[in-house]
Symmetry: C2
Subunit: 255 residues, 2 copies
């Protein structure tokens, strides 16, 4: 079994956002992300694997794919290389299906993150991975954020994206609807903040983070029940965004 | 004033580690890192600036450079572009001097970080920035770590590298000498850890972190006074290294 020229051309095109949107497909690259997609039962169209992958890893992927009924196609390494977004791909990639839009008012889990215009794909991937570690399983992204299905985000997430509830294009009006429907609260993060964590008895809150360069807009800061910050002990203008998310979620979990 | 062909060729070569070592020079790219180098009084050979830089930022750099007696050369944007390691450089770069090796037994400040075979330059840059925020001003790097003067590290550090004490090629034997000389202790981080922070009355400790893929070697884990870890509440194999450093340093600062 091999792949046709048309398939190869389709898969190569998935590096481009417009093509992902039109086809409803995205690329998952590398042993760890592909394994995690399989373990999470995420819908995969197929897996491509080349013979440079170590036997033990190859067998693990084949066995998992068999359990989940996903087709695995053996290809030559140059084929992977041509499809991949990476300079030195590991020799495994999957073509995955973008899930259909969820009902906006389906129940969320709390605490949730609201990320405002995050544009660094590496940061977003790391944030997804960090959120899952701290059992924060709902991630809401504002309009004009980096595409969550871009290869760099998927790679940085190390598989976390397959286990999280991700909603894109969530504007402040939709946040208002969620808060009203769920009777939950919104907490913002900003260097002007005065709390180190939400002053609540439960986890029913959405924690909002802005981009490193612009922070959160005034309408979110004003709407928030409180503004959180991380104390500075030394010198610097700001912390890296993913580092900030990690520190905040860790603080929240320490009751 | 402009730059000669020989100078341009020298500056372009500074993307390569061997050339940096031979010349004792490295590149600082972008408005923020160059401004921070000037503010910190770091030794700069010269600054190149092109006319696409906004007037206010141009004047700020010129004024700071004048205070610190650093030559600023106006060049055309394509010249910056040819020297730079970036796809879309901001139009400012500095050529900085690698400081002479410090005496190994000169006093360190505590807490200090010991980074073992860190090979991701983006992670290392973010760690430097995070360490300075939490006033952890001594960073020791093991042999076989990424070069601290590589453009990606310098860029990710956002200027923190100009205010930290950085020592490279520090092996476990040298760590032993430092511990004995300073009467300080070594704490390791590992998923097998049992403490969330050092159980000490003061800050006289070195906190060791391994690479994401391999962690710390047994000789460091065995030598440590204690092993620290970050509790997992959800799912995942590990946290990003810079996120882990941020959470640990934040925890240490919360007395």
């Amino acid at each position: 079994m091999t792949i046709s020229r048309a398939e190869k051309s389709l898969y190569r095109s998935l590096k481009i956002k417009k093509e992902r949107e039109e086809t409803g497909l995205f690329l998952v690259e590398g042993i760890k992300p592909v394994t995690e997609a399989l373990l999470a039962g995420f819908p995969l169209e197929r897996i491509l694997i080349s013979d440079n992958v170590a036997e033990s890893e190859r067998l693990r992927i084949l066995s998992l794919a068999n359990d989940k009924n996903v087709a695995v196609v053996s290809v030559a390494y140059p084929e992977i290389d041509q499809i991949s977004s990476l300079l030195n791909p590991e020799g495994v990639l999957a073509v995955a299906k973008i899930s259909a839009k969820e009902n906006l008012l389906a129940p969320l889990t709390y605490p949730a993150l609201y990320l405002w215009q995050i544009n660094d794909p590496g940061n977003l991937g790391t944030i997804l991975r960090t959120a899952l570690w701290f059992d924060c399983r709902t991630i809401l992204l504002s309009p004009e954020s980096v595409d969550i299905y871009s290869p760099k985000v998927v790679r940085g997430a190390m598989g976390a994206n397959f286990r999280l509830t991700l909603r894109t294009n969530v504007d402040i009006h939709q946040i208002e609807m969620i808060l009203a429907h769920d009777n939950s609260s919104l907490w913002a993060t900003d260097s002007s903040g005065t709390f180190d964590k939400p002053t609540l008895a439960d986890d029913r809150f959405i924690l909002a983070f802005g981009s490193e360069s612009h922070g959160l807009p005034p309408e979110i800061l004003q709407r928030a029940a409180g503004v959180l910050c991380i104390n500075k002990y030394g010198y610097g203008e700001s912390l890296n965004l993913a580092v900030s998310v990690g520190i905040m979620l860790h603080t929240i979990r320490q009751k």
